[in-house]
Amino acid sequence: MKNETKCYHCGEDCLEGKLTYDEHNFCCNGCKTVYEILSSNDLCDYYSMENTPGFTVKDKAEHSIFDYLDNESIKREVLDFEGEGFQRVTLYIPNVHCSSCIWLLENLDRLNPAVLDSVINFSSKKLTVNYKSDEMSLRQLAEMLDSIGYGPQINLKDADDSKKPQKAFDKQLLIKMGIAGFCFGNVMLLSFPDYLGIAGVEEEYSSFFRYLSLALSLPVVFYSGSEYFTSALKSAKQKFANIDVPIAIGLLALFVRSTYEVIADVGPGYFDSLVGLVFFLLIGKWFQSKTYAALSFDRDYQSYFPLAVQKRINDDFEPVPVKELKKGDEVLLRNGEVLPADAILIDDHASIDYSFVTGESVPVARKKGDYVYAGGRQVGKQVRFVIQKEVSQSYLTQLWNNDAFGEKEHHTKLIDKVSRYFTVVVLLIALFSAVYWQFTDPSQTWLVFAAVLIIACPCALALSTPFTVGSVMRVFGRNHFYLKNADVIEKLNATNTIVFDKTGTITETQGEALKFCGPVLSEAEKALINTAVASSTHPLSRWIKQFTEVKGFDYTIESFDEKEGKGFIAIVSGLSIKVGSAKFLGVEKSNINNATQVHVSIGGDYKGYFSFEATYRKGLTNLLDALKSKFKFQVLSGDNDKEAERLESMFPEGSVLRFNQSPEDKLKAIKEIQTKGNAVIMLGDGLNDAGALQQSKVGIAITEDVSLFSPASDAILKASNLMDLNKFIKLAHEGRKVVVASFILSLLYNCVGISLAVAGELTPLFAAILMPLSSISVVVFTTVSVNLISKKIKLK
């Protein structure tokens, strides 16, 4: 039975007894609280922006997780600026997703007058707040943001990053493009008289126009185009002709020849071709460099670990930076906090959620004296640990000391392979034609030599790759597959093996995996269980609660007694309800599988158990079928081999399944596949896959929500689009064909141009038409064909 009422704040279904306040329905207390805050501050316009703009807020109890922001040294790391009476801070807010978010976050001063102003950068999801520091602390600011559902994500990595200036390169490219575009427009206008033959009539202007063109081309060649010269020099030193070498030769020939013509007063020169060429090349570079500012592809454990943890100092717990933790320190973890280093539990019970490490979403129970690995998140009440290793030396984090995190292997791009031959051929043609003219008409020798170099400048060639991969990246982006950079597409084409992580990658991560084993529960029984588990804080209880949701019953809970780590006994409307482990209920654990089980008895009658079992994502077998002709598969699972049989039946024959893999083992497994000459695509979702993702040719991080944490990788793929992987690979392959086709197209242009140049017929007017024409037709051809192909293979 599904309740159709939607929460007024967050838009989720109101599953349990809905709350009504101010004539609106809310799914939970959190949403109601947000509504109260908003309405009491006159911010209800928020709701008129979009139908369901909000988020489900977290429990209020979690707010104290920000109290480390009172620590002076941490505060100094996080703050941008500290002035007299006010402070400025920039916080990363992962939850920003719509125009109402912008509105709410930029109206913080209405929620709390201590905020002077707040500005959000939507594309990078960063909020900059100025606030009065004597009326509000940084911690209070963070708590306020959290209470309205926009909790900032503050971690080690950010604190380091804020000191570096970001994206300086992007701005430089824009400025270079601006200059090139400006000069291109003006030079073209100034060249018209020459092309139209007007210069002959009003001769007094023509030399003025030509000198002006020369002056305008200087900043373009020496500033906007400077990268091509430096890059060409660099590759010449390494005796390797990349695509920038012929471009630099062409630009130089154009510039020298044109300058000579103007100064010697023999012709108008090719300034507009020169400037236009640089402009088009820069546009190509810009088109390809589309980046996802809000996504980070370089996150390591530091960006997941907290800045500080509660450490015992004398008799008190105080927040200290995690870097200062040493062996033997006693730390306190509260609900939702992450354990930053390997430690031993000294309280009786803890339930640790390793979902960011392994992808497993069912928390594991730990007992007193257990050794607990770093990276787990405590769920439930607060617990104490004794640190066993420093943060950087822990089981998980020492993965980052591996060599794989150095330089990645070099990948020779297709364009560089082509340009190696291209440069040689062009230089030979230029030389031969120069020799030929030396014997027939020596006055033409240098003109022809320069003309060949000019027209052979591989502008169109150099544009075909950026525009193809730029278009492919945009199609991928529309389908929630985000690439770190354009090179990933070419690397994707070179792979022949796909390695999957199991938990969280090919299995579902949410509570959908829950099922009840035993006689079917009646509606009334469901309602009884539902009422009982509502009082439990155990994370599994929440899922059971969702599962047993029914309408129309009104039971009240009379007593509730939870035995940590075992289960609970509740009296609901006079009936005793026992929920917990098999041992707690005194029944035999069902050994059908090793899935986590929660057993239930009502009024002393054993009813059965809830089983939390991994379910594989829908469509996985279809995906594997579609890919099996081109790829071999492997599965690297950190779990035991209980699922081996099921996996074997799903994966085609010849696939290798490995179990009990530690993070280091996964990395080694990838290395081993690579030494056999295979190139690997790795799909993983947790920190324990980070080494394997780094080592593989293309590491793809799978995540349910792209703005949340994902380990360092070459690409980030939203889990819901995993089944499109075969289409992505197909499009990458087709993209390569498009590049090759446009290479041929631009080489045809070059053949026409070169034959004219060799014959000594190349006029500036002809160059001015042919060069932009070839560039534009290549651009149109590549973008249109990539979009047609993506439609054909049914990508958005």
Binding site: D42, E106, N121, S124, G178, G185
Partner: protein, 56 residues
């Protein structure tokens, strides 16, 4: 000097002024975030609050 030359020089100066404006726009970060300004301009001004202040 012919009037054409003057005109061309003047037009160049004007164009350079716009180019400088573009540099300023890039450097002051106006291209960093192209989405939120488009939404921000649609937000209601704070009329309500001021009205209330008047009523008080």
């Amino acid at each position: 000097m012919s009037v054409i030359l003057v005109l061309i020089l003047v037009s160049l100066v004007v164009a350079i002024a716009f180019l400088t404006a573009f540099f300023w726009a890039v450097k002051s970060g106006q291209f960093d975030d192209t989405y939120s300004p488009s939404v921000r301009m649609l937000f209601e001004d704070r009329v309500k609050k001021e009205k209330e202040a008047k009523n008080d």
